[in-house]
């Protein structure tokens, strides 16, 4: 099974390494033709404005939208911003998920933090907290239609959502040793 990782900018290597550990072939996606034969796509962390501009410069916006209509897509941090329909600022987006996102919602880098989350959809999610790394992270302000919140901070701030085969996390599972989010995404592909 081949899974793509959008490799324009950001921590795409970390996602590729985690997929390899799980026995999946990661494919670097930099141009539209790289999407052929892929079963799913991960949009990594990075700078959402940079990635958005590169999506336009290399004519990836429409091919990615078409791909996402048929196949599972997961965005982490910048990836979550790119998947959202509403981020409150004017920047290039895939505009797929019915989620409203606020960028840099926790402050600047000095406010970046780690926290443990209860994520019931994950394996042992009720009993074994997930180590979440938030870096100049966004948060979910609201979800609409069939989008649902799947993880919250202790104070109730929503930080992960799912809408059918689309997944969005404000944090970075690829920066940890815990592969459960990646396994969950693979499960979405294999349904």
């Amino acid at each position: 099974m081949k899974i793509g990782v959008l490799s324009l900018q950001g921590d795409f290597i970390e996602h590729a390494q985690m997929l390899s550990e799980l026995g999946v072939d990661p494919v670097a996606v930099r141009l539209p033709e790289d999407l052929r034969e892929l079963e799913g796509l991960i949009i990594p962390g990075g700078e959402s404005t940079t990635i958005g501009k590169l999506l336009i410069a290399f004519h990836l916006l429409e091919p990615l939208r078409k791909f996402a209509i048929q196949k599972p897509v997961w965005g982490t941090c910048a990836g979550m911003i790119l998947l959202a329909k509403d981020v409150g600022t004017d920047q290039p987006l895939l505009s797929l998920m019915d989620i409203k996102v606020q960028r840099n919602a926790f402050g600047r880098q000095a406010d970046s933090f780690e926290a443990y989350l209860h994520v019931p959809v994950l394996k042992n999610g009720e009993t074994q907290p997930f180590p979440a790394v938030f870096i100049r992270a966004p948060r979910l302000i609201s979800v609409k239609n069939d989008a649902v919140v799947i993880a919250e901070l202790a104070d109730g701030t929503a930080v992960a959502a799912q809408q059918g085969k689309w997944l969005a996390t404000a944090f970075h599972p690829e920066l940890t040793r815990d592969t459960r989010f990646h396994q969950y995404f693979l499960k979405l592909i294999n349904v």
């Binding site: 490799s7 324009l8 900018q9 950001g10 921590d11 795409f12 290597i13 970390e14 930099r30 962390g45 990075g46 700078e47 404005t49 940079t50 501009k53 590169l54 410069a57 290399f58 941090c77 910048a78 600022t89 606020q102 960028r103 840099n104 919602a105 926790f106 402050g107 600047r108 880098q109 000095a110 406010d111 970046s112 933090f113 780690e114 926290a115 790394v133 938030f134 870096i135 100049r136 901070l153 202790a154 104070d155 701030t157 970075h172 920066l175």
Partner: protein, 306 residues
Amino acid sequence: MNIKQKARVEKKQGQTGSNTVKRGLAQMLKGGVIMDVVTPEQAIIAEEAGAVAVMALERVPADIRVAGGVARMSDPGMIRRIIEAVTIPVMAKCRIGHFVEAQILQSIGVDYIDESEVLTPADEMYHVNKHDFQVPFVCGCRNLGEALRRIGEGAAMIRTKGEAGTGDVVEAVRHARTVLGEIRRLQQMPNEELMTYAKEMGAPYHLVKETKELGRLPVVNFAAGGIATPADAALMMQLGVDGIFVGSGIFKSSDPAPRAKAIVEATTHYQNPEILAKVSENLGEPMVGISVGSLAENEQLATRGW
């Protein structure tokens, strides 16, 4: 409860300032270009071109060379205005060893501090103890020993120094080849040789060992100093660095905005010569530049740092 109060409550529950979040921001910058800017207007041009971050400073290195005298931390008011102008991370430079400049930069909310040889060193023996800070640091290096000493002091990101303000990529190449070559040799070494190697290059043993195991530096490593064209950026990427700093190369060229965009695109598609050719077309004149070979040793900034 408003958003800001909410975030503050959560901060108490979560851990800030850890190595993971400090190094993590650098991981998010990989494959990207960090650009020197001296005004909010330039910062906006850089963001529009696709920069992953900007380095806010009063003068680009080429002008620091011309001006001479003592180069210091920039006016915090100027840095604040740049922070307000863009949504991408903002970095700023403090002098080597000047931990009070670093405290000031942290207090105004910069996202990364560059303890930089481009400014005049404040201490000829010691660098800042970067573990003391919540905000992460990037530091320059010319070789593996220097890189690991800086990481030992708490740097969460490394850049090879090159020779800032010249537009001549030769030193950036030399330093990247040196660091990456030393890591390749380290990987071939039997473990009993590591302690003596650590002693010889003046690097902490545990970081020498970790670097061998990882086959790379334990933190993200960008190239800097002399990168002026899309081809220069792609050259450094192909040599094996994680991303690019461009100082004088953009705003000292004849037409900054298209050059900035081209360097961003070249850094993404560094392995694709057809795209590199296309983005390199019609960019106007690059910065004039100074050949590093024509500089006296005391004019070379890269020799600063201990």
